[in-house]
């Protein structure tokens, strides 16, 4: 395993009386596709917020490339780490193209106009997410799945070596879900970028993630290569479900088969 990109040490975060993250330590290696999995409310989204620096930890620390996250100027951090959150509100009638161009914000000086390479990055991102034909539309007029792909395009245009994705396929049909994750995988394999994605669908996690990070009640439960960490035992411990994890030739990946509660002897 190469030297860690992120070093997270004894991290904690609280919302009022609730400990969302509770003494979590973790290292994240560069150039891999990491999946974060765990039950609702286990702190997955909070962990991403702490990794992009939009929240400050209550205790412990997050280091990126050896430096504490809060030593980075905001704009420099935005050139290194891109976040695609779960919600994509946009409150004024900006077009899709303008929305994706916002991803170039950390690269364009304050009073400068977008340069050719910024516009090229926007075109390429629109193309990669298959939303080029929507670019003149208003963001607010799009469907949930279209909005999600535009938000992903904005993060691609940001051109950061680290991509944090919060349930990137939650609004997508299976066809677009596979396409989006394949794009993310290509960024990892061909360009050496690092993807950390909160994954709800364990079969998609099994198919695309190099490593999985299991969170439970704000703590790290297990972490490791997908083939070793994603097991019947870990799924029972973390989610409390019965499941079989097996290689499937047709899928070309491991698949997770769940047992219906009370469905079998």
């Amino acid at each position: 395993m190469p030297e860690a990109l992120y070093q997270i040490e004894d991290l904690s975060f609280v919302y009022g009386p609730v400990k969302a993250i509770d003494g979590l330590s973790l290292e994240i290696a560069p150039g891999l596709f990491h999946g974060i999995v765990g039950p609702n409310g286990c702190g997955k989204t909070t962990l991403l917020d702490l990794m992009v620096g939009t929240r400050r930890p209550a205790g412990g620390r997050v280091r990126l490339a050896g430096r504490d996250l809060h030593e980075y100027p905001r704009l420099e951090l935005a050139r290194r780490v891109a976040l695609v959150p779960q919600e994509f509100a946009l409150n004024f009638p900006f077009s899709v193209e303008e929305t994706v161009l916002m991803g170039r914000h950390p690269h364009i000086p304050r009073f400068a106009s977008p340069r050719a390479k910024d516009l090229e990055a926007v075109e390429a991102a629109l193309e990669a997410m298959g939303v080029t034909e929507l670019k003149a539309k208003r963001f607010g007029e799009l469907s949930g799945g279209e909005k999600q792909r535009v938000a992903l395009a904005r993060a691609l245009a940001q051109d950061a070596p680290i991509l944090l994705l919060d349930e990137p396929t939650s609004h997508l049909d299976v066809n677009h879900a596979l396409a989006v994750l394949a794009t993310a995988e290509r960024l990892v394999r061909r360009e050496g970028r690092t993807v950390v994605a909160v994954m709800h669908d364990l079969n998609l996690a099994a198919a695309f993630c190099d490593r999985v990070i299991f969170l439970r009640r704000g703590r790290l439960h297990a972490e490791g290569p997908t083939g070793q960490a994603l097991t019947t035992e870990s799924l029972r411990e973390v989610f409390g479900v019965s499941a079989r994890v097996e290689w499937d030739d047709f899928a070309g990946a491991r698949v997770v088969v769940f047992q219906k509660p009370g469905g079998a002897a």
Partner: protein, 350 residues
């Protein structure tokens, strides 16, 4: 075929800003000529031109009375009303952009009432510790305190809920108007001054008022344009904006303080003039698109145009001066209902 874009191309935006500037310039000349003494545009331009260094020859042969009327009586009032219109429209754009609510403006947020309360208090107590700026200072303090209270009232779990915002603003404004009522009751001799000033008016403005409001509006414009791109990105919500490199806390704080200051100065000088900050940004978004880099200067120009036009009408066209705050409320109130109704319909469809 070039793709159609909802945002106007930069060239089109430049043309529109130029057109707005020319319209405002023409209105200034017309307004300077209208009134009890009518003065033709040519003479107005000669009077204005002759006050510029090196051009004093332009004024030769003109009646000295014209100089008196244009430069001492009308121009301060013209500049004050235009600057107040700009300031209120700019504050509207910024409040809407930060609070993510298209119904937010200094009036609906209660900020104007807070400023009026502070200013009434200064008038009642005859406070004078900062000279002529004392009323403005108390108006700003009232505006800022009101904004803080409204934000606190409308926040859930430390985050401002845009849906509660206007309701909180109306509640706080209602309490403040009761307070202003009490001040009026206590004011005795000052009461007519306070009442007339509260209704909003540009009667007998001095060069001091003009300088104060123009300074505040220009300062506001400079600060707001500096942060215009950050304000665009804040439309994505604070979380996404921070992840894109926007210093969300600092940007919001600076913009909210500046917008309160601008609203406070406007109210201190001219009383409560409602709905300009709602009407103008909405119309300018239709003309210029949502990008604040074009929207802010366009709103400043259009706000100036609207209030100067309204003030000129009450001054020169109506048989009696109608307080301008009454005039804008008569136009702006129904407009608020229209925007509110449309938002409800959109939410119903979503």
């Amino acid at each position: 075929m070039p793709p159609a874009s909802h945002s106007a191309p930069p060239r089109g935006q430049g043309l529109r800003l130029t057109a707005l500037t020319l319209a405002l310039g023409a209105l200034v000349v017309a307004a300077a000529g209208l009134g009890y003494i009518r003065i033709g545009p040519g003479e107005v331009l000669r009077v204005l031109g002759s006050s510029l260094p090196g051009l004093s020859g332009l004024g030769e042969g003109l009646d000295r009375l014209l100089f008196q009327v244009v430069l001492e009586v009308r121009l301060p009032r013209i500049i004050t009303s235009a600057a107040v219109g700009s300031g209120l429209a700019l504050a509207g754009v910024v409040f809407q952009g930060i609070l993510l609510n298209p119904l937010a403006d200094p009036y609906t947020l209660g900020v104007s009432s807070g400023a009026a309360f502070g200013a009434s208090l200064a008038l009642l107590l005859g406070l004078n510790f900062w000279g002529g700026a004392t009323v403005s200072l108390l108006a700003f303090a009232g505006a800022a305190l009101t904004l803080l209270t409204v934000l606190w009232l409308s926040s859930v779990d430390g985050r401002v809920d845009p849906h509660n915002l206007i309701l909180s603003g109306v509640i706080v404004a209602a309490i403040l108007s009761a307070g202003i009522g009490l001040i009026k009751y206590l004011a005795d001799e000052q009461v007519s001054i306070i009442i007339f000033w509260l209704m909003g008016s540009f009667v007998s403005r001095t060069w001091g008022d003009a300088a104060l409001t123009l300074g505040a509006s220009l300062l506001g414009l400079a600060v707001f344009v500096y942060y215009a791109r950050d304000l665009n990105i804040l439309a994505l919500g604070a979380r996404s904006a921070a992840a894109l490199g926007v210093e969300t806390r600092r940007v919001r704080l600076v913009l909210l303080i500046t917008a309160s200051l601008v609203s406070g100065v406007c109210v201190a000088v001219s009383g409560i003039i409602g709905f300009v900050g709602l009407l103008i940004p909405h119309l300018m978004r239709l003309l210029m698109g949502p990008d604040n880099r074009g929207l802010l200067p366009a709103s400043a120009l259009a706000g100036a145009f609207l209030l100067l036009a309204a003030d000129t009408i009450t001054r020169a066209a109506l048989p009696h001066e109608v307080p301008i705050g009454v005039l804008t409320a008569v136009i702006g109130g129904p407009f608020f209902c229209y925007v509110f109704r449309r938002r409800q319909m959109e939410r119903g469809h979503a």
